[in-house]
Symmetry: C2
Subunit: 338 residues, 2 copies
């Protein structure tokens, strides 16, 4: 597959135009297009351009309702519960983080529990959104079952991505981690290239750790990151998101063939409103400088989460966003009347 | 080392009496004794009886101030910042969780940032504290550096334990995880028994993963749980706790020989106040039942975090708390005048 370099503005306007054809309002088509194009811009094509055609198909199939408006169903101070009405997952998540930021401007803390929503695509987007507003942001989503509980040979847990962002003028720290050591997308890439994964990635049928992508994909037994630790973390994040949003748990999501109707949670902490002194910026910089001064095994530089993202973003803004020819042609096919 | 079985009440009253000799108030000696005895009762002797002598030595050496009172330094709605004044870490953490629960009773959400405190001993205690009050509790602490950043060959990150608890009438879900795959205490046990760890646990000098406890302990290169994921999570938890508490980061803790003056963060969510319906209990039960119905590789039962704790607690209440003869004699030696 040859790679094209699409100028960011071209990618954005193409997505926007197609979304307008799929019944998105002007505002929503803009937000949704920015989230898809932004994911590819930041080097996360799996949840950017590559995923866009599947997203459109889920709209056609009725799992994602393009013109649904999220509805507030409960409010108490800095906490609100919203029903996502099965709208586009990335737009719903963006609105939720925006609302959590507004609450944190007012109260110092903002929490949104969002139920009945859809895949938020690249979770890191909402970490960046909080950090760009000068806030600490924590958010997580559940997913359909795709990992086993510790000791089990069947998938019962979601890989439930967790995002934590800390603002910083010279580049925020944005952690975006799924609870499986490797995503199925990554494992499929290794499978296509007939390669073993670089670290243990799942289980074989006897319960042994393995790096073989085909074995893991066939068994649907992705390894929880940190073994029993990632399995436990996945469970409690699912329980918190689904309980507080009055939404579906991973268990309930697993009853459907297609993954839709997810539960998510967003917490924002506003350092300014919480009386954190101006010295906080220097405090964070000192920690990052110390980390980056680490000596390393292979003389490679030691990076903090999110650091490479900024480099990629700037590079792609200048030289164009890489999109495979196959994906780009697929996307352009949606410009024609359905 | 032979094991004794000490009745829980005896363990508690022994700790309490000794703490009174170490200048604890009646109330604080009770709280502190319950936290130490409770850790052993729940099967976490490493942060219970086994740790008690070292705790007393840190008081003698002036790192822990037994009669220090934590002081509130900032308040905004459901958020408060407290200065732990280098008081006993477990008592300070217990007061902080108690205060967070009070705030959550009032506002639905309660957050405490606690700086200038000490090792909280068993983090799970504060998860149980929240769950016993019917609340969702999230808390984390930083530690001195004891893990490398991803790719690095020197410890710059703490193993920063994270605790997340979800209340449930038939037994809460309480996750208590440090960010290293194995604790140094666990690795030392394997070293003494001349055994390899069951999973990769750290790095050798060339940066290869290893299960050999001696190699890892010598290099101080414990493996972050989930490889780069646990390393990233450790960093952001440290930044949040130290920034919001106006306290020390892992980097600053590493400048001292002895670990003291830690930063911690506590978040409590009150389902009742946040309008979560009565059905939430059944919702959580269904998820747990589904998880426990998992088939497993070796026909062993699949457990949720905290499940074994309740079993151990009930067993030890009935049959006595296991304490090694060596540790018990050491503890009793503090009953004599210093």
């Amino acid at each position: 597959m040859s790679n094209l370099s699409i100028p960011y503005d071209k990618l954005l306007s193409t997505f926007e135009e197609i979304l307008r054809r799929f019944n998105f309002t002007t505002e929503k088509s803009r937000i949704c297009a920015e989230l898809f194009a932004g994911a590819s811009l930041d080097g996360v094509a799996s949840h950017g351009a590559n995923r866009f055609p599947l997203f459109l198909e889920m709209i056609r199939d009725g799992y994602i309702v393009p013109d649904a408006e999220p509805v507030q169903t409960f409010k108490a101070g800095s906490f609100e519960r919203w029903d996502g009405k099965l709208g586009p997952g990335n737009v719903n998540a963006w609105y939720s983080m925006k609302r959590a930021i507004e609450l944190a401007h007012q109260h110092g803390i903002g929490c949104i529990a969002l139920g009945n929503t859809n895949h938020w695509m690249r979770g890191g987007s909402y970490g960046w959104q909080a950090a760009d507003a000068g806030m600490i942001g924590i958010c997580f989503t559940n997913t359909k079952p795709n990992m086993p509980a510790w000791g089990s040979d069947e998938p019962k847990l979601g890989n439930n991505p967790l995002v934590i962002a800390v603002p910083r003028k010279d580049g925020p720290i944005v952690l975006d981690m799924a609870m499986s050591q490797f995503s199925y997308g990554k494992m499929e890439t290794y499978q296509r290239e007939k390669k073993q994964l670089p670290y243990d990635a799942g289980f074989d049928k006897e319960g042994n750790l393995t790096r073989d992508p085909s074995t893991i994909i066939e068994n649907e037994l992705a390894l929880p990151a940190g073994l029993w630790k990632g399995a436990g973390l996945s469970l409690v994040l699912d329980l918190i998101a689904s309980t507080l949003s009055d939404g579906k748990s991973t268990y309930e999501l697993g009853k459907e063939v297609v993954e839709f109707g997810l539960s998510q949670f967003f917490i924002v902490l506003n350092p300014d409103k919480l009386g954190v002194t101006k010295a906080a910026e220097q405090h964070i910089n000192r920690v990052i400088e110390d980390l980056k001064s680490s000596s390393s095994f292979n003389s490679a530089s030691v990076n903090y989460p999110g650091e490479n993202t900024l480099e990629k973003r700037n590079h792609h803004l200048k030289h164009g966003v890489p999109v495979t020819r196959e994906v780009w042609e697929k996307i352009l096919s949606y410009q024609k009347d359905p």
